[in-house]
Each structure stands twice: as structure tokens, then as C-alpha cells.
């Protein structure tokens, strides 16, 4: 029975800053009672306010950055829970459950370059992924910047959250918007195809993707058609985040490495899955 990670805890933390980001987002900085060790990118936390302004069930958010003993989250306002978090002030108390989930695999230098496909708020788990790849994490040594490329897409420029900071990381960042308000007109899959045709990227890339469902479906199809290694960070609806409610099933591949059971739990077996393991 999959259990939450052994380092996960439930604690009260204090909001230290809330800064607007993009059209409908905020950067929420949170100070835990004790600093946390460096965490792998794409792990997540469940968050809710303790003053009753949030719904009772906390909501999942990828860790965006870790800096000065603080956890920073990039939150897009979509409903009750995210609205309450965005309305926090410095000093607001949050219930924080985490760190949860597995995070991206080690970004090693033993294959083709890594291409990160981010759709809108799906960029959140990539900031630290790039930082960690460039400095080395776990068993993986530091990766040269030319082995990494971020394709950052959104429907319109206002949903390219914190783009300037991504551009300052020192890796190649290509931008796409559906309405052409910034960069390539189209989506990140079309942008990748264009790069292949123009020779801007080799064919044997390895893919990491996070974004809305239709985008992840398209990335999965593309990865299967071209037989590329591919990992998806899923943003399934969650209840508990710690493996006890069975509310976050993801269909597994019948012959895949997760075994014969038809569902994986997104919260404790993901949120990152390889396309060998699951099929959306």
C-alpha cells in the first residue's frame, strides 16, 4: 500500500509575502517553523488557510522555489481555494502538509537533451528543475545549459507567469502563445515540431511536461508516436494528498512497471509518471 513520503509532515507556517504574478497569479512565500532541506523539483504541498477563509480540504501546489528558508508557491486563481490563498497577507497562518510526491527523475547527461514543456501555471515545477539540473542533484552531476531547453506556452502572454525569471536561469527558453501575443503563435507541441524542422533541437530529446489536460494528452501522443522518453507531472484533482482517500486515480499501463493494478494514486505514486507507467 503506497504511503506518503517519510519526510512529509503537517505543520503551521506563516506567509511572509504575496506578490502578484501574471494576470491571475501570485507568488506566495511561506516560512515553515523549521527550514526544510533542499527538495526535489515537482514535489508538492497541500495548503489551506487556518483562519477559516479556505475550504476545509487543502489544495495541492508544486514547490516553485526554495530560498532563504522559505517555500515559494506560484498560485493561479481558479476557484475558492486558490482565491483564499491569493488573498493572504504577510502574517497569515497556513496549514501545510508536505513535502509530498516523488518529483522529476534525475536529469542526467546520458542521453538526448531534456526538453521541458510548460503550459501556463504548469511552469511551476520547472523553475527548480532547471536550477537543480544546472547545479546537480542526487546521483546526477551538473548538466551543461545546452542540454536543457524550456518551451513555455500559454493561451496568452498574461499566463506566462514569471517569464523573465525563467529567462534569467541561463537555459534556452522558447515561448508560444495561442493568440500570438508573445513568441511563436501556437502551442508547445507545435513549437517543438518547428524546432525539429528548423534543426534547433535534435530528434532524440527527452520530454518533461506539466500543464492542462489537453496539452498533456498531446504530449503523451507525441512521445508515443516518436518513441521518446517522457515524464508528465499530473495535476489530478486531489482530496487528501497523502494516499488515504483514493480520490486521485490515474490509469496505469497494463504491461507497465507499476504492475497490474489499473489505477495509480497520483498523490503518493506521482505526481510525476513516465509514459511507460501510465496512459492518460
Amino acid at each position: 500500500m503506497p504511503a506518503p513520503p517519510p519526510d512529509a509532515r503537517s505543520f503551521t507556517a506563516t506567509v511572509s509575502a504575496v506578490v502578484a504574478c501574471g494576470t491571475d497569479g501570485v507568488l506566495l512565500s511561506v516560512r515553515p517553523p523549521q527550514p526544510l532541506p533542499p527538495l526535489r523539483a515537482a514535489r508538492f504541498f497541500m495548503l489551506r488557510r487556518e483562519d477559516g477563509a479556505s475550504p476545509a480540504i487543502p489544495r495541492p501546489f508544486s514547490l516553485y522555489r526554495q530560498a532563504d528558508d522559505e517555500l515559494v508557491f506560484l498560485v493561479k486563481v481558479t476557484g475558492r481555494g486558490t482565491r483564499a490563498l491569493a488573498a493572504c497577507e504577510a502574517g497569515s497562518k497556513l496549514r501545510v502538509i508536505g513535502p509530498l510526491g516523488n518529483g522529476w527523475p534525475d536529469l542526467d547527461g546520458d542521453g538526448g537533451p531534456w526538453v521541458m514543456l510548460a503550459g501556463g501555471i504548469g511552469s511551476a515545477p520547472f523553475f527548480m528543475a532547471i536550477e537543480q539540473a544546472l547545479s546537480g542533484l542526487g546521483a546526477a552531476p551538473a548538466l551543461a545549459a545546452e542540454n536543457l531547453c524550456l518551451l513555455y506556452g500559454a493561451s496568452t502572454a498574461g499566463f506566462l507567469y514569471d517569464l523573465e525569471r525563467f529567462e534569467e536561469l541561463g537555459v534556452r527558453v522558447l515561448v508560444a502563445t495561442d493568440d500570438g501575443s508573445r513568441g511563436f503563435r501556437g502551442n508547445v507541441c507545435e513549437l517543438l515540431e518547428r524546432e525539429w524542422e528548423a534543426g534547433g533541437l535534435p530528434r532524440d530529446v527527452r520530454l518533461l511536461a506539466c500543464g492542462p489536460d489537453p496539452m498533456l494528452h498531446a504530449v503523451e501522443r507525441l512521445a508515443r508516436a516518436r518513441e521518446l522518453s517522457c515524464w508528465l507531472s499530473l495535476e489530478e484533482l486531489m482530496g487528501c494528498g497523502v494516499g488515504i482517500c483514493n480520490g486521485c486515480p490515474v490509469p496505469t499501463r497494463p504491461e507497465g512497471p507499476l504492475g497490474a493494478w489499473p489505477n495509480a494514486k497520483c498523490c503518493v505514486e506521482g505526481p510525476v509518471f513516465s509514459t511507460e507507467e501510465i496512459s492518460l
Partner: protein, 309 residues
């Protein structure tokens, strides 16, 4: 220190706080959040004879004052439970309740006899009331005779204490409790989820794929309290209260209404560390009130006169 220990039939518990089935894992998954020694007992997710993959997603939806779920009893079946889960709870510093479910009366008895041999299991809870299988028909928890029949089968299959988990989706839950008692139940758990539903009118879609779902959490507490109270008046065996419990105050409301123990479900999703803090809070409340033992309060509801303002 107040005395928090309670007795459920032949079973002594260190405190009256249990986890609710399906909201705390199968075994010790929550041990880093709510350590087993802080709990009176842990109730497993429902285990069925055969593996059940569960219902299609979306399976969950939070509403204004509660939570809808239609998990559909996803579990890997009794074989996997006996092999993979029970060995890990062997040394657990708390009571282990295995919750069992079936679609026919005979399945419950079969499960009970398989668990009877296992020392890791302290008691069985018999899920007569899952709304998320068989289209919400709830046969065993809406007919006292059927509840009696299932419990009799289970009673004959095991010497362990057995508790019948009842549904609030009936007019007179006391009659079902009496049926379960007549079949040999050592106690009843009141209640499972209410049948509920939520709609996304803009897209003309149900919020939960199976349309109907089980409603739990804060919003059901008054209903659960009334059900538990009716059961406590109807039967002589102990009643375990369940529904919307999120604080030590809530625990004592159920105790005063007649419950010997209480289960915490949906509140664990708000904070998986909460169930483990309740016993300590309970102790504080009893100390402040000058009550020596929680057992003194069981069923102490006084219907004469009015409470002081």
C-alpha cells in the same frame, strides 16, 4: 489526567478515538502524522473478497460544508490484505479493526472466517452501508432482517468482536441497529455517508462520474448525531459515533448522545495529524470540566429543562 479509556464489548481501548474506514489507509500509512499510540484504534478501508478497481474519476468533490465521494471500494481484495497489510500492523501500538464489505450475505461470513485466524486483527467492522456499490441500493442497511442475517453469518464465523456499520439513508435507523444486535453484533457504528450529489450546471455535468455519491464531513454532523442517539436508545450494545467529527468538542457531543467511541473521517483530509491530537484535547476538556472519566459522560444527555444560556 482524565481517564480516557473505554470499552467496546470485550475490547478495551486507550481512548475513544478511532479512524473512520476509507479515510486513513489500510494500515499504518498515517503513522508519521497521527502516531498509532495516540489513537484508540485504526479502522481499515473496506476489504472485499475480490479485488475492486473502484469507480471512474472524478470520484471526489468538496461542497460548501462537506465532501462527496464515490470511490467504489477500490481495494486489492482480502488476499492482498492478509498477505501485504496485516504483517505490517502486527506490532502496532493500537487496536486494529478490519472493515469488510460484500455484495452477498455469504461473502461477509467468508471474509470473517478468513480474518478470524489472524491475531493482528482485534475486531471486525461490517460495512453494511456503502452507498457507492450496487447503485446505492444499500440492501443490508435498509432492511433489519437482512442486517440480522449478515451479522449472524459473521457472528458464526468469528469469535472476534464484530461491529455493524449502518447507513443514515433510512427513516428509522434504530430498527436496523436492533436487527444487527439480534444477529449477534457486539456494537454498531453510526453512520456511513449520506447519499448526495453535486452538479456543474454550466456544463450540464455531474461533479462525480457515478452521479450519486456519499456525503461526509462537517455538514452531516447533526444527522450523524441524531442517528447515533437513536441507535443508542434502541440497542444495549455499544454505539460508535461517526460523521463530521473534527474536534474534541464534537467527540464529547457524540459521547453524551450515547456513543462509547467515535470515528474521525473527512477531517483527516483537512489535516492528517488532527486525529492524533484529539485525545489530548479531550483530556484538556475533561480536566477543565472536572470529569474524571470519559465513561461517565456516555449517554448522559439530560432532556429535562433547558441548557443555561
Amino acid at each position: 489526567m482524565a481517564d480516557l479509556s473505554v470499552e467496546l464489548a470485550s475490547l478495551a481501548l486507550r481512548n475513544p478515538i478511532l479512524s473512520a474506514s476509507g479515510t486513513f489507509g489500510h494500515g499504518l500509512e498515517m503513522e508519521h502524522f497521527s502516531p498509532p499510540h495516540t489513537m484508540g484504534g485504526l479502522v481499515s478501508k473496506t476489504v472485499t473478497l475480490r479485488p475492486r478497481p473502484g469507480n471512474t474519476a472524478p470520484r471526489i468533490h468538496e461542497t460548501e460544508a462537506g465532501f462527496l465521494n464515490s470511490i467504489g471500494l477500490e481495494n486489492r481484495g482480502i488476499g492482498a490484505y492478509l498477505r501485504d497489510v496485516l504483517p505490517r500492523v502486527a506490532d502496532a501500538d493500537t487496536r486494529i479493526f478490519t472493515n469488510i464489505g460484500g455484495e452477498e450475505a455469504g461473502e461477509f461470513a467468508e471474509l470473517a472466517s478468513m480474518l478470524d485466524e489472524r491475531d493482528e486483527v482485534d475486531a471486525l467492522e461490517v460495512n453494511l452501508s456503502c452507498p457507492n456499490v450496487g447503485g446505492g441500493r444499500l440492501p443490508f442497511s435498509t432492511d433489519p432482517a437482512l442486517a440480522e442475517r449478515v451479522m449472524r453469518g459473521v457472528r458464526e464465523a468469528t469469535d472476534k468482536p464484530v461491529f455493524a456499520k449502518l447507513s443514515p439513508n433510512v427513516t428509522r435507523i434504530g430498527e436496523i441497529a436492533r436487527g444487527a444486535e439480534a444477529g449477534g453484533a457486539d456494537g454498531v457504528t453510526a453512520v456511513n455517508t449520506l447519499l448526495g450529489m453535486a452538479v456543474d450546471w454550466r456544463h450540464r455535468k455531474p461533479r462525480i462520474a457515478s452521479v450519486q455519491a456519499g456525503y461526509s464531513g462537517t455538514g452531516i454532523k447533526p444527522v450523524a448525531l441524531r442517528c447515533a442517539w437513536e441507535c443508542a436508545r434502541a440497542v444495549d450494545v455499544p454505539v460508535i459515533g461517526c460523521g463530521g467529527v473534527g474536534s474534541a468538542e464534537d467527540v464529547l457531543e457524540f459521547v453524551v448522545a450515547g456513543c462509547s467511541a467515535v470515528q474521525v473521517g473527512t477531517a483527516a483530509f483537512s489535516d492528517p495529524a488532527l486525529p492524533g491530537t484529539l485525545a489530548e484535547h479531550l483530556d484538556d476538556l475533561l480536566e477543565a470540566e472536572g470529569v474524571a472519566s470519559v465513561r461517565e459522560l456516555v449517554g448522559s444527555l439530560d432532556r429535562e429543562g433547558r441548557a443555561p444560556a
